[in-house]
């Protein structure tokens, strides 16, 4: 397979032109999927025998929690790529992705809290799962803060990349927190090794929601990277030409 198209994406110019084509379709496909998945999950999927309709918040909680972790993993990879190969696009990606991941973590925490009150009987408890996800949110906040406080951009990019890489240690802790310690949060419903503890009529809309969240965020992050390229490369002649001839 020819990977040259992929390697070219490491150049801001190529990426900018590629993203103009792909950002919008991916984003809108995600939006469409979220609408379908949410309506299916919230209105048509059966309610749970024990929790009743409250369980439907799973269609928001699980996708946002999965994405909060996936976004961080992507930040870790980008951070590593930047620290080792110094690719120009890696910090652009980190800058574009960090706030999205932070919002996902915040939604996971909020929706979990709203779910916890009627089922567990409490908004918050300091168990290992909840606390480690709060740490994830704090890591996102740290990355955003460091990028915005350091005036020297090279230093800011490097410092943010270091947090991205080091913070990846938190991901297995989140994943296995419900296995290693006893927690109020239940263990995972889905795994690669066994059938889900949920019938298809329930997991199908959930799967649609999760996949659509990925698409939605992929589109969003490419858009945000465009903006960041405009900001960083505003002196480049190719960008001037691009903007003058095509608009943004």
């Amino acid at each position: 397979m020819n990977w040259s198209w992929f390697h070219k994406l490491g150049s801001p110019k190529w990426f900018f032109q590629w993203s103009k084509k792909w950002a919008a379709p991916i984003f809108w496909l995600g939006v469409l999927g979220i609408i379908v998945g949410m309506i299916w999950g919230l209105a048509f999927a059966p309610k749970d025998y024990l929790q009743g309709n409250v369980f439907r918040i799973i269609y928001l909680h699980v996708p946002s929690a999965i994405l909060a972790e996936s976004c961080y993993l992507s930040l870790g990879i980008a951070g590593f790529v930047f620290l080792v190969w110094q690719m120009k696009m890696a910090p652009v990606f980190i800058k574009a992705m960090a706030p999205i991941g932070a919002v996902m973590a915040a939604i996971a925490l909020f929706s979990g809290s709203i779910w916890g009150k009627p089922t567990w009987g409490t908004w918050w408890v300091w168990d290992a799962r909840l606390t480690s996800v709060l740490v994830l949110f704090m890591l996102y906040m740290g990355i955003i803060a460091i990028q915005n406080t350091l005036d020297d951009r090279v230093l800011a990019d490097k410092a943010a990349a270091v947090i991205c890489v080091v913070g990846v240690i938190n991901l297995p802790i989140i994943k296995y927190s419900v296995v290693w310690w006893n927690t109020l949060h239940q263990p995972a419903t889905f795994s690669f090794t066994k059938k889900p503890d949920m019938p298809e009529v329930m997991w199908m809309p959930l799967l649609i929601c999760v996949v659509s969240f990925y698409l939605f965020i992929a589109g969003l992050v490419v858009w945000r990277m465009q903006t960041e390229i405009l900001r960083r490369e505003h002196r480049a002649s190719w960008l001037k030409k691009e903007v003058v001839s095509d608009g943004i």
């Binding site: 749970d48 024990l50 089922t119 009987g121 080091v166 990846v168 240690i169």
Partner: protein, 152 residues
């Protein structure tokens, strides 16, 4: 590979490994603090301190729930299928509280081994199913479909 890049990869790998090791040791040392609750076995073996605020967790034993008809007083036993702890509570129970369901109670262990709870939280498991499926299972088996509480 370029020697500078190789050196960078090795540096990052060492930093991440050392940090992982340090965090792993800290989490291991704090294991008992990170665990949200003591299991009935831990309480029976005297691992749980008496007279201070702790949490106890387990599955509510079927047929053990006794309610006072005039007050909000309720007492029940929880088990991890090895030992049993008797819990007394005065207050409103969460909606999901029922026999055969996991709970976590916050309170104090009295000298006689009774656990006096100030708050009771309900645990639920990772299994979801529509009500009609649950009813069918119930009729087929003659009991509730919720799986036995395991100590997570």
């Amino acid at each position: 590979m370029h020697p500078i890049r190789r050196k960078r990869i090795i540096t990052i790998a060492i930093i991440v490994l050392v940090l992982s090791g340090a965090i792993g040791l800290v989490l291991y040392a704090l294991q008992q603090n990170i665990n949200l609750f003591y299991t009935p076995t831990q309480i029976a073996s005297g691992e749980a301190p008496k007279g201070v605020n702790i949490r106890a967790g387990g599955m509510v034993v079927k047929g053990s729930v006794k309610r006072d008809s005039n007050t909000l007083f309720v007492s029940f036993n929880v088990t991890d299928f090895k030992r049993i702890v008797h819990i007394e509570y005065h207050g409103i129970l969460p909606d999901l509280f029922r026999e055969g369901q996991g709970i976590v109670a916050q309170g104090k262990l009295l000298p006689n081994g009774t656990f006096l709870a100030s708050q009771v939280l309900a645990k639920h498991d990772e299994k979801y199913m529509p009500p009609d499926v649950a009813n069918a299972l119930k009729q087929a088996k003659g009991n509730t479909p919720s799986k036995p509480y395991n100590d997570n």
